[in-house]
Amino acid sequence: MGLLSAMVKKDLKVLFRDKVTVFFTFGFPLLFAAFFGAIFSSGGGNSGMSVAVTDLDLTTESAAFIQRMDDSSSLQVAAMPENEAREATRKGKKVAYIILPKGFGPAYASLFSGGSPSLIVGVDPSRKAEAAMLEGVLMKMGVERFQNAFSDTDSLLSMLDDTILSVESNDQMPAEWRSLLGEYLPQIKDLTAAENQSQKDAEESGNDVSTGTGIADAMTPLKLDFEDVMISREGPKNGYAVTIPQAMYWAILGVVMGFSVALVQEKTMGTMTRLVAAPISRMQILGGKALGCFFALFLVMTVLFIFARFVFEVPIDYPLKVLLALLSVSIGFVGIMMFIAAVGKTQRGISSLGWGIMMIFAMFGGAMIPLFAMPDWMKSLSDFSPAKWAILSFEGATWRNFSYPELLLPCGIMLVLGVACFLAGSRLIKLEN
């Protein structure tokens, strides 16, 4: 153990004394996470709150109401079937779902009779602030219903006709109420008709008359039935939750390149001669390297996770899962490091081949474009990139909230890949010049 710990200590010292490596293992990943995380986190606010809407009523009124929501700058509306709308909110893809139930249209159309129109609303409980805002927006639109009704007197007149008829034919209404309304409503109608005439005159003479706001405030514009939403979140909590696993990959890239170059440098510097001349086996030399690389990866990623938790406030609810991901991803890339060192042979070969491979892994593995934002063709290619499985391990251990069996897939792939690459690499690699 003394031998291995000496080798690890030496390798870590050599690695982190190189300023370029330190930049690529800590500086660049942190910049990456901070920069893109900030962009993702502030996004969404500008284009309006994203909600799912389901129209079960299918009347002109319900269609018009949805259209008005869509026109509103504070909402971004996607129409979808009821179950999809609920699912989208559960998974955090939408802030809320709004269902227009059967009967919405008639209730919306009649101002003074029947109940006020109701909406079924379900809101992502983790987005309380946005929910409050949504409620405000919907109520405002309900109030607008009255304003529209009163500012469009012709529709108000026809609405009053309907209402008078329905009052007369309503048997359940107490007699006093019926007689009161029977007297009252026709008077309102007459007044409205007269005002309609004077308004038309005024419009002809160029005067602007606004009407009806006083009455609108007195009534309940809209009833909102809130439903509880059970979340099964698949969306990240904040932008950094996405960029930190990506940043991990960039840090991994820094360490892997640093170590594979350092391994070949031992040959060019001649220090490998001393290692080979010492009474230790080839496997001990390679094992020492692998262990050093493992510790470097583990260390760098742990530091990044600490940053993620305490600086970027990425929730880490399952530290054990994170640990499992860290271990398996470290092992995976130790193997890849060994393989790159063996195949690249020279420092120049490793630099070009290593960077090339690792960048392609990054592109298709979600270190540049997040996995969930990839087009489908790219998603299927990403299966071949170890970067994907590394990032998925970290996402699974954090915001994707994988169960242990689910986590086993990406972590297992990393482990198997690591062992296979290490065995192949350590066979191929030449220590002697």
């Binding site: 003394g2 031998l3 000496a6 080798m7 200590k9 030496k10 010292k13 050599v14 004394r17 190189d18 510097m269 001649g270 220090t271 001669t273 001393r274 290692l275 080979v276 001349a277 010492a278 009474p279 230790i280 002697e432």
Partner: protein
């Protein structure tokens, strides 16, 4: 101590070492003198177990060259300086020492001694990067000695070194001989071989051309000495194989001799006579 019997090494078509038979005795400084490409480094890497022999047998202290036992006996100073430039001298020494399963206290002690031995104590904690070529060479030697090996393989240990560091390295090597170490020293500088080595093997294109003490090599292959005398009448000079006889003759024939010079041939001449070429081109 080091025994080579008909050792050959082939790289493809090139026969780098050709049926070399050699016995380096315990406690001697054995010089391998030859031009670049003669096969010196290849011989060292076979002795230290880094390269396989193509044919022949080789033993170090009775052990196979790639065995752990023989690796423990040997300390190699590679021709190219082999140190971690990003680390300090003391880090380098401690790391390489740890490859030989030394106990911690013993290792620390050795580090201090070796730094003292090569005169790097003052700058032990500085990064090697900042060292001069001579300092790096001295560290290269110190690392070779860290596990107190019995056999030293020093491959051109003075290349790229200022005269001061060179003298200090010579002193080190002679001190090591006094401590009973067996030393194989390769060089293409005949002065170094003359100054340090008990016996010298002359190597060219993988073949050993001659092997003896410097004195004997010169006697046998050096050719004539050069004798010159300045007399009242002029300069008398001649090449001779019997300088004493010739000197007596000159003294008896001439009077009023103002200057006398007797120059023995150097190893350079030995090489020239053996190969028809200069050692340094």
């Amino acid at each position: 101590m080091i025994r080579l019997d008909a050792v050959s090494k082939r790289f493809g078509d090139l026969l780098a070492v050709n049926a070399l038979t050699l016995n380096i005795r315990e406690g001697e400084i054995f010089g391998l003198l030859g031009p670049n490409g003669a096969g010196k480094s290849t011989i060292i890497s076979m002795i230290s177990g880094q390269q396989q022999l193509t044919s022949g047998t080789l033993q170090v202290g009775g052990f196979q060259p790639d065995s752990k036992a023989s690796k423990r006996l040997i300390g190699v100073a590679p021709q190219a300086i082999a140190v971690y430039e990003d680390l300090s001298a003391i880090d380098n020494l401690e790391f390489f020492g740890s490859l030989y399963s030394m106990r911690r206290a013993e290792l620390k002690q050795r580090c201090t001694e070796m730094l003292e031995f090569v005169g790097l104590t003052d700058r032990a904690r500085e990064r090697v990067e900042k060292y001069s070529g001579g300092m790096k060479r001295r560290l290269n030697l110190a690392i070779t000695l860290i596990h107190d090996p019995q056999v030293l393989l020093l491959d051109e240990p003075t290349v790229g070194v200022d005269p001061q560091s060179r003298n200090s390295l010579f002193d080190n090597i002679l001190a090591l001989k006094k401590r009973g170490k067996t030393i194989l020293y390769t060089t293409h500088h005949m002065e170094e071989a003359e100054r340090l080595c008990d016996r010298v093997g002359i190597l060219d294109q993988g073949s050993l051309l001659a092997l003896d003490t410097v004195e004997n090599l010169i006697d046998e292959h050096g050719g004539a000495s050069h004798l010159s005398a300045t007399t009242a009448t002029g300069v008398v000079d001649r090449d001779t194989h019997q300088p004493v006889v010739d000197l007596q003759e000159i003294l008896s024939k001439h009077t009023g001799i103002r200057d006398l010079k007797l120059q023995r041939p150097e190893l350079e001449k030995v090489f020239l006579n053996l190969t028809g070429r200069q050692l340094r081109d």
